[in-house]
């Protein structure tokens, strides 16, 4: 049935394969055209389609086949690699936040929306005293999560970025895992996560003890 027609295009050097469909001939004048219209109009095919709709309506209404997600009361599960509002993770052992204040996320951010302040704290460590992300500017590219050496800043699933106040989720503490939720803290599977073969790829440094 199918005929292979080879078109040669002067602009394209590759062979192009097109398949022509057998569509019959189109009525060319009055009477045959009128016959085609009448045949198609009174054909029962229309009711075959309507019957399927009716059946599905019945299933939905009476047999619990409803698929609507009642947003915002219900939310669809999203991919663990989805890139929405950031999460700041804690160390599982101590509960201390993971961020060491290295400033790499601030540096790599292409929309320049991360800002941080650090200081020398009482324990002679670098402390992150202030940290904000301007979500009005963030493009959720994931570079910050990728560059973070501590797996501290990751993307989370909170994709609703509308709020009465921008400050509602731009502060460090809002993004940080609540301390009582530490046990439920999940590692992020997306950008910046540890590769499955990470252990094998590490070249170990010898130690004297």
């Amino acid at each position: 049935m199918h005929e292979e027609i080879i078109h040669t295009d002067s602009t394209s050097k590759e062979k192009q394969n097109y398949v022509m469909l057998e569509l019959g001939s189109t009525p060319a004048y009055g009477w045959p055209a009128f016959k085609q219209v009448v045949k198609r109009t009174v054909n029962g095919e229309l009711f075959v389609g309507l019957w399927i709709t009716l059946k599905e309506m019945g299933k939905t209404l009476f047999k619990g086949g409803k698929h609507t997600t009642m947003y915002p009361f219900e939310k669809m599960p999203i991919s663990p690699r989805y890139r929405a509002i950031h999460n700041m993770l804690r160390l599982l052992e101590s509960g201390h936040y993971r961020c060491i204040g290295c400033g790499l996320c601030e540096k790599i951010c292409i929309s320049n929306c991360i800002a941080m302040e650090t200081r020398y704290d009482e324990n002679q460590r670098k402390e992150v005293s202030e940290y904000t992300i301007n979500f009005g500017r963030c493009i959720y590219c994931g570079y910050c999560a990728e560059v973070c050496p501590e797996l501290a800043i990751v993307h989370g699933g909170r994709y609703e970025t509308a709020s009465e106040q921008r400050a509602s989720f731009s502060l460090f503490d809002d993004m940080l895992t609540p301390i009582d939720m530490l046990k439920q803290q999940q590692e992020f599977a997306g950008f910046g996560s540890v590769t499955p073969n990470a252990d094998a790829a590490i070249k170990k440094t010898p130690l004297a003890y």
Binding site: I100, C102, G103, E117, K203, P206, A208
Partner: protein, 824 residues
Amino acid sequence: MGDMMNDNKITLKIDGKTCQAQEGEYILNVARANGIFIPAICYLTRCSPTLACRICLVEADGKRVYSCNTKAKDGMEVTVSNQEILEERRAIMEVYDVNHPLQCGVCDQSGSCELQNYTLELGVDSQSYTIADTARETANWSSVLHYDPALCIVCERCVTVCKDMMGDNALGTTPRGGSELNKELKDTMPKDAYAMWNKLQKSVIAPSNDTGSTNCSDCGECIAVCPTGALVSRDFEYTSNAWELKRTPATCAHCSSGCQIYYETKPSSISDRSEKIYRVTNEWNYVSLCGAGRFGYDFENRTAVKNEEAFANAIEAFKAAKVIRFNSVITNEEALMLQTLKEKLGIKLINPDAKAFQEFLSAYGLASGKTLWNGDYKEMMQTSDFIISVGSSLRNDNPNVRYVFNNIQKMNKGAGLYFHPVGDSLIAGLGKNVACIEHNVNREEAILYWILDKFADRDKLPAEISEYLASFHTKTTKTVSETVMEDVKETVVDETSGESKEVVKKVPKTIQKEIEVDSSTLLEAFDAPVDFADIVEKFLAKKESFALVVGEDMYFHPQADNLANLLALIESTTEFKVAIVPPKTNSLGVALICDLDDDADGYTIGYNEAGDFRLSALGDGDLDMPALNQQEGTLTNMHKKVVPTNAALSYDGYELNDIMNALGLGERLTIDWTKELPVKKGFKAVEFDSLPNRYTNDGAEHRGYMLESQKTKNTASIIPAKFTVNDMSGDIAYRCNPQRQFNEFTAKAHQIFEPFALYVSPAKAEILGQKVAFDINGKEFVLDVVIDEKMSGEIVKLPDFKHSSEIYAFFGKNRFKPITLRKV
């Protein structure tokens, strides 16, 4: 000496590239000047090679040498890298990485780390060595220094720069207490890497006085030269990554050295996005900063706004003004604006520090026939091996002059004489060939006469001066006993053969000898020690290039004019290169540009000074002005250079040029005045934006332009007058700022802690107690007594960085003044 620069050119080949070099230059410096990269960690350009890192290993004429301490020879062929050398270097970097913390993310070096760079450069991707680590605790060495020994690679650059450049000698190495290296490594690992590791494992840096604190001038140069994050400033620590900071090349505003600096800025905080200076950095291979330059950066006028009412008042004040009182912490452009006001509106200009300097320069100019001195500090540092300092408190007045004095001792095998009424143990300890002569006040004339007597070419001296100098000499004969070896002939009988032989033996014999001694009463005039003549003879052995620096005591001196005449005569009749230290930041510029007046009365505008209407960059005046880190312009420094400075921070208020515009005398921008600076005083008609401000790899300074010394109308040869002696009795005050304090601006900076107090020697402090009071023009001052352990003698130092009007008025034309101190 200057001619030597061209005479001893040699040619050598480094990696096949033909390089021209100076005889005696190190291979490393030749390579750097010619754009060839040789890795080196521990070497500092203007200091002696430390030989700690050994990474600059190269092959010269087939032999392995360290390029940092091997002098280039004519026709030498140098290979920077071969397989063996690369293995050595890689092993050295591996050793440096052993036990080095991997928390690079929180390190203040933030990527500008030489350890990191060389580790990557030499491709260290695995570690073959290991040793047990030692516990090393962080420490604060002073109010500004923080040391983390865990990050330290003991390259000793801090130790070297502190000794060879700054002269504080505050740092040294101390035992680390680390474990011994495995002896088997000696045979298995590259030998230079082993030797380096062996040394590294034994030492760590610590203050050299064993007290745990440096007790130094807090210049922070050790922070600048540290290749890792081991040494950081306590204020900067963990506050910013280097890459977040915007670097603005500028000129330090605090003293007349006018060093090139970079202001490093970024927003103050998340909530306050206005720029703030986080630190000051410098090109430490070519310029060394003092503590004021490095830490005294936050003196900006923060709160300034365009207050139209205050501005209108200012215009009225300028219309009514008879006098403008200002100091020399201003740019050349501002000085020119003030001079324009004088010319157009007849306002008198009062500036005590620049006035004295201007008078001194004009006396010098009349006597010498030219406006500027012949010495150059940078050249002195490179070539001089004998330096004399007269009339300057080296430790306090100008840090860079002290660095020059010190560097000559350390690098040029030099000798130095320091003449000053206030004893200083730091200067005395700068080298074994340094003598401090504590003379009575105002004996500078006698000292300059001694220099003439000792060094002047008699044929060039005027007859009157020759006769005058001869009149001090007396020739006496003195009997001295001397031991000579005398030949004694003896007849010895040989025991075996029985033959008698005549043998000549040498026997010591003491004889009395009469010698002629030439003594000069000139030495007594400046209280020289009894063996002064011998000391000088010893110092002068094999010395070729002489330098003389004179300071502020000379300009504030009852015989300032005569001193200027003597200085001109020294310059023309001896081999000395003479350098004059301007008293304040831009005193030289102001002295050249402004036509200053003696004290005048009437309605006074004070610019950063007291007055009826006050313009102030300190934020406390009737109209705000920009501070020197908030404005563009040029400064004239002691190197006789006109150097540009840039605005590091924004400024929202009015500038002096706005006032000039309102008076119909202004230019569009302040920097449009730069090309108007007076050409007949030695300035050039160049645009501000064409002035460079940087150093290149060969150490060449591309900053602004050199002032040109002008000929003066030298009508008749001036014969200096005989010296006079005016003694002071009772307590004597010396107008002198503590280290790191220069003016109200340094006093404002939050990292400069030196208080406005009376600085005294420990012995004097015991007499004075903790607090003293004294009167200046009826106003009582009560000041704390601060012990300066490096001072000696009875004279007390009274700073002028605050209350300058009163202090200058009190001292008048003399930097020394009797003072009545009351215990409180």
